[in-house]
């Protein structure tokens, strides 16, 4: 190929495509201060500052479509029974403006604007700040305590305290006579969640609203009581500025994480929603982000989107690597123990695909797991499929033997096979979720002739199959090790 300007351009484009990271929701995911993601009538919704919001059918592609009246800032949403409670702040002006904010709540039976049941109740004020007190009543966060059914709302921003009030879960109104409690200072965008006997208060520190220069970051403290004190991992009270970071910069083309939302997908599968202040691949605009939420020693930890690459796919059950069922091809030589120490040292070439591929069957080949020694039949290249659709927090991927188009596929009898060439069929598309313990769940988009949702599991050490996902079993978990 002649390296003329045109071809250099093509080459640059190709390299750019190869190195592209799948790091943001796709569609038009532009939002600031997203509310906790809610599912309604088979779609996902999140609302943002200034009204409106985003809607998604699969949790990966997001576009404008949510409707929230009232304007204001930083809403939150919570489903109670068969209704949705929406809280939002009517701000007095923000950093350099007034601080006489209000928190309002309202209900809706559905979040789908096209539904005949879509109608918000009249918004009511549940908390406020007078402009001079050490609090600015914006940025609400809702928690329905699973231990006793009580409804709590946190609110506030950098201007003084974060406060906690109790609401009536039937009406969304402030419980009569309830006094606000100070639970943190000098952060904003708080959210509450409960897990395993602990209440967690998540807040956002750093610079907001400055695009690529924002340093917004999400921190956490925890308490045995919803009313606090919320201490960080070093024992610092969040009333003294404590907080352990959960998510900060995206480490590259995105930065400034703020406004945590908790999204439990399944037992052991949790996500966190938030916004990045700037996505440099999307005009530096503020975008919705969804990442795995991990738990380490009782603390939430932000995970990362799955990175495309070539991997060993290792079973958590025994540590075997997923591989094609083909005859093992020996490398030259055998045992080479201590010999003449002065013998020249030479590098031994790795076994390569071209050394073995002609020994493999040309049609379908089964899959098993075995002792991993980095041979060609054990290395898998995983890449996003642009037109394959998505799921909460990620696209669908194809999983092929490195250097080939031989693709992992689900069969109608819920087993695994590899087909010689990836065709894009749904049974060749794989969803990859990082679990709360850092391992992964791998699921086919479709089991042929079945509506079952099954995952890649180990029925024996060497026998991968498809079965019901069980977070409490290592049979259901996998790791990806870079090659």
């Amino acid at each position: 190929m002649k390296l003329n300007i045109k071809n250099i351009g093509k080459l640059a484009l190709a390299i750019g495509c190869l190195s592209a990271e799948v790091n943001a929701q796709i569609g038009k995911p532009f939002i600031h201060d997203p509310s906790t993601i809610m599912e309604s009538d088979g779609k996902y919704y999140t609302f943002g500052t200034r009204g409106g919001g985003l809607v998604s059918e699969d949790g990966w592609t997001w576009n404008p479509g949510g409707e929230r009246p009232g304007g204001g800032a930083a809403p939150d949403a919570l489903k109670i029974g068969d209704r949705y409670l929406i809280a939002y702040g009517a701000t007095g002006g923000g950093l350099n403006g007034g601080h006489n904010g209000k928190i309002l709540t309202m209900w809706n039976k559905t979040l789908d604007p096209k539904s005949p049941d879509f109608k918000y109740t009249e918004a009511i004020v549940v908390a406020s700040s007078d402009g001079n007190e050490d609090c600015d009543a914006i940025d609400p966060g809702l928690l329905l305590d699973p231990t006793d059914g009580r409804l709590w709302l946190s609110y506030g921003t950098y201007f003084g305290f974060i406060r906690l009030v109790e609401l009536d879960p039937k009406t969304g109104k402030r419980v009569e006579g309830n006094k606000e409690i100070n639970i943190a200072i000098d952060c904003e965008a708080t959210a509450l969640l409960y897990r395993d006997g602990w209440y967690y208060l998540l807040g956002t520190h750093g610079t907001c609203c400055d695009g690529a220069n924002s340093t917004y970051n999400i921190v956490v403290g925890r308490s045995k009581k919803v009313t606090g004190p919320y201490l960080d991992n070093m024992g610092r009270d969040m009333l003294k500025g404590g907080g352990k970071m959960v998510m900060g910069s995206g480490g590259g083309r995105v930065n400034g994480a703020g406004h945590f939302g908790h999204w439990k997908i399944d037992e052991g599968v949790e996500k966190m929603s938030f916004h990045y202040e700037a996505d440099l691949d999307m005009s530096g605009r503020s975008v919705l982000a969804i990442r795995p939420l991990l738990w380490k020693n009782g603390w939430p930890v932000g995970g990362e989107l799955f990175r495309e690459g070539t991997y060993q796919i290792e079973s958590e059950r025994r540590g075997y690597g997923l591989e094609l069922i083909v005859d093992f091809t020996r490398m030259p030589g055998g045992f080479r123990g201590p010999r003449d120490p002065n013998e020249p040292i030479v590098k031994v070439a790795s076994q390569e695909l071209k050394d073995v591929i002609d020994t493999w069957p040309k049609g379908e080949i089964g899959v098993r797991a075995g002792d991993y020694i980095a041979r060609p039949h054990q290395k898998w290249t995983i890449s996003a499929v642009p037109d394959g659709g998505g799921n909460p927090g990620g696209p669908y991927y194809k999983i092929v033997i490195a250097g080939t188009e031989r693709a992992l596929a689900a069969t109608a009898d819920a087993e695994l096979i590899t087909v010689p060439k990836f065709t894009g069929a749904a049974e060749q598309l794989w969803r990859i979720d990082q679990l709360i313990d850092g391992t992964y769940r791998i699921m086919p988009k479709l089991i042929p002739n079945s509506n079952e949702k099954l995952a890649l599991i180990s029925s024996g050490d060497s026998t991968p199959t498809l079965g019901k996902f069980d977070f409490n079993s290592d049979n259901s978990k996998w790791n990806f090790k870079n090659q």
Binding site: F328, F335, R339, S459, G460, D461
Partner: protein, 250 residues
């Protein structure tokens, strides 16, 4: 000055170095080949060759599995001698070719009789109906007890699973040292290739049904150097042992 002592020492040191050189050559100067033997260490040898040390003669009464569902009753054929230097030559195709060539019968539903002999190649081999005293079946102990080859062996196995009703959606599960193949009612269910160890549930079959009545398991285990044994059971979709059947050899 005693001049003899240094001379004696020189002789001793020369002899020691010569021995070490011979020994180290034996240990290390190997080309590609099996892992070399270590220098012999005198140990108290077990010279008893008796089946009853690790097995009991199977009775005509059907037997249950052990508490974890392992099948301890097997018809076991005396070993076919095989020349296998190392176990990682045991590939899928090696197993299929070898078991096809050194087979006692192509009728995989045939149940041999305890004590009868069959001919494989030029070897006359006898069937034994035995219950293992452990969860697994140790073929090293079996061949040692019979004064037969202990290494480089192929051993055929048969057992009968008796069900009072169909048991659906279960998997046959096996571990073996080193390679093996398994059939249920004439259908191949599992192949365990490679240099494997006796690991419970190392490989499982696809989902299968144990039918009401007799179900015949055929197995073949092959091993080069080292220990040879296997363990088989059935598990359900939760990985729990299936135990609601009995085992016989007829």
């Amino acid at each position: 000055m005693n001049r003899k002592h240094p001379s004696v020492m020189r002789v001793f040191i020369f002899a020691l170095l010569s021995w070490l050189k011979i020994s180290s050559s034996a240990v290390f100067a190997q080309g590609p080949g099996p892992r070399p033997s270590l220098p012999p260490i005198p140990i108290k040898g077990d010279t008893t060759h008796t089946l009853t040390k690790h097995f009991t003669q199977a009775s005509s009464e059907p037997k249950k599995t052990d508490a974890k569902g392992f099948i301890q009753r097997w018809l076991v054929l005396e070993p076919v001698k095989k020349n296998i230097a190392r176990n990682n030559i045991i590939t899928d195709n090696f197993l299929k070719t070898t078991f096809s060539a050194d087979n006692f019968s192509n009728d995989y539903n045939m149940i041999p009789k305890d004590g009868e002999s069959v001919k494989i190649g030029d070897q006359d081999l006898k069937w034994y109906a035995l219950d293992s005293k452990t969860f697994n079946f140790n073929l090293y102990h079996f061949t040692y007890a019979l004064n037969k080859p202990k290494y480089g062996i192929l051993v055929w196995l048969v057992t009968v699973i008796n069900c009072t009703e169909d048991i659906e959606n279960v998997r046959m599960s096996a571990g073996c040292n080193s390679g093996s193949m398994w059939w249920l009612n004439g259908q191949e269910t599992m192949i365990l290739s490679g240099d494997r160890d006796m690991i419970a549930d190392n490989v499982t079959s696809p989902r299968i049904t144990l039918k009401k009545g007799k179900n015949i398991i055929r197995g073949a285990v092959i091993n080069g150097p080292g220990m040879a044994n296997f363990g088989v059971r059935f598990i359900d979709d939760k990985g729990e042992p299936v135990k609601n059947f009995t085992i016989s050899y007829q």
